[in-house]
Symmetry: C2
Subunit: 335 residues, 2 copies
């Protein structure tokens, strides 16, 4: 029988939609206690976290000064949801590291931090080791559906020659920000303008390809992606918006890991309003062959909040440093 | 880029069918080097391992004295495949622990060692910690298909109320020992006689239920199993044997984890000649719901050899002690 243990003390750092979802989930857990909240938004600072979560008062007031909060509270871990991009979060992570606080972060780039930001990754790793903190980037995609699951499925194989992952999300069943993120209702030219900003569509495809390559030991030389709009063939109405025939219904995002002309990894993500047969599917060209499917698909926003919270005990138990999901104990339901 | 590192030095301990399959696989890996082999069978001692594997000579001679071999070779890890049952292996594991050698074992009971042998488990754990060795029990079933995968799938959930895993194996596609193990071709009365020996059918169902209960934090009070013969409705011919109508085609093995009258965990294993729709399937009654399937099913014997080999790096990296798959890095393909 496991002993009853003291709850892990958690601070929520970043209170956007994902951060609030993760905070709400963490607050519901017996083995976790949300003891602090950090956000720079003046509309949130000074308010009780319970107010932002639309629940009862939690006695946790949102603070703007991360270092002061972490120094004072000395939590076991931070749930970090401020930005997708490493350059925007490196100082935040260094603060947590200096305070000796472990971090689970929703930053998509942080899943394979050295892929696009080798120097910053080394800086975060050094800070984490110096402060005795463990830092992990995680989420459902990237972080689970199109990468970690494929890697874990390889456990039952002798050899893997290539990997194909398919994720189909019917965006009409998702929240408004996701529908907007995939461009539902835009014209094709607006879509292309948005895409050029680099803050649109799915973030983390390259990181997923890289995680699969490392996890399966596939010798990938180039990682590329393509992003195309999916055009609606008929009108679709969601609870939030209407997509007319000829407008953009969403995105099709392919990721490729290649060695020369050979495609070793192909990740195929479709997120659009009206997408048929939503599912997650993994096919390893392996000995023996592996075919794995989640019919209906893995829920998106809920799953990312879940992955953040469910990785906390593994991260707290892991040795210090900027770590990969390949190195920590597998995530599982936290009670 | 990962640095090229020295191969891990491996000793194969136990050279039955699974041990030989794992040794053959380990020998094929660039990052592993099989440096020794241990078995007490006089027909094997003194022979080159390559001879037993029906390959070229490996310069590895099978030895009977485990302690002498491990003391001399000081390998990084042992692949241990001598028995399913903890009382039969406790001294073997203590020897490895004394020699400071990490162990991955195919012993089904070792997956959740304290379930049926709390005192022996404590003894092994103490020896492992004293010797600086990590000891893990693993395999495909128990160890992956009906337990670990269900636990890992919970990573994307807020809550799990119950878990159902189904594994259907068409025994006609498997090796002779598996067909014999499930009683194919026996009469019903012979089947029951065999079953009473406790060395027949599938071993490890209780351990799977326990691993799911612990991994998902389900408050299971009782663990029970039922084993029934599946009677052939028509004649079946396999490459090895014939099952006539009315004879036993194989087994149906249910495992239940209950709290009072409530079934929180139901594992349903069917292994018989002619079983239709072979597959592995996991359904979590969870928020959000999770449904996961391996159409065609996870290969059996190959997968157990793979799980042994693919867990080696995680076990070598883990801190000393008798550990659970819930605590080590997720297994993945070793190159």
């Amino acid at each position: 029988m496991p002993l009853m243990s003291t709850p892990l003390r958690i601070v929520s750092y970043g209170l956007g939609p994902i951060g609030l979802a993760a905070a709400r989930l963490a607050a519901s857990k017996t083995s976790l206690q949300v003891v602090g909240a950090i956000d720079v938004d003046p509309d949130k600072v000074g308010h009780d976290l319970g107010e932002l979560l639309e629940t009862v008062s939690m006695g946790v007031v949102v603070e703007a000064d991360a270092e002061a909060a972490l120094q004072r509270l000395k939590p076991d871990a931070v749930i970090h949801c401020t930005s997708s991009f490493i350059p925007a979060i490196v100082e935040q992570l260094e603060i947590a590291a200096r305070c000796g606080v472990d971090v689970v972060s929703s930053s998509e780039e942080l899943l394979v931090p050295d892929l696009q930001h080798a120097e910053l990754a080394a800086r975060i790793d050094a800070a984490a080791k110096a402060g005795g903190a463990t830092v992990l980037g995680t989420g459902v995609n990237p972080g689970f559906a199109m990468d970690l699951m494929a890697v874990i499925a390889s456990a039952v194989t002798f050899d893997v020659r290539s990997c194909k992952c398919t994720r189909v999300v019917d965006a009409s069943t998702r929240r408004l920000p996701l529908q907007q993120k995939v461009g539902a209702g835009l014209s094709e030219s607006e879509f292309k303008k948005q895409l050029a900003t680099g803050r649109f569509g799915h973030i983390g495809m390259r990181e997923s390809v890289a995680l699969v390559a490392r996890g399966l030991g596939l010798k990938v030389e180039t990682i590329e992606q393509t992003v195309e709009p999916v055009i609606a063939a008929e009108d679709h109405k969601t609870p939030f918006l209407t997509v007319k025939e000829g407008q953009v219904a969403g995105i099709r995002n392919h990721g490729f890991g290649r060695s020369g002309q050979q495609t070793l990894i192909h990740l195929d993500l479709a997120m659009y309003v009206g997408a048929p047969e939503p599912r997650d599917e993994i096919v390893l060209d392996s000995t023996p062959p592996v075919h794995l499917a989640f019919p209906g698909g893995i829920a998106g926003d809920e799953a990312t909040a879940a992955m953040l919270v469910n990785n906390i005990p593994g991260v707290v138990a892991a040795p210090p440093g900027l770590v990969s999901p390949l190195e920590v104990a597998p995530p599982r339901l936290v009670r």
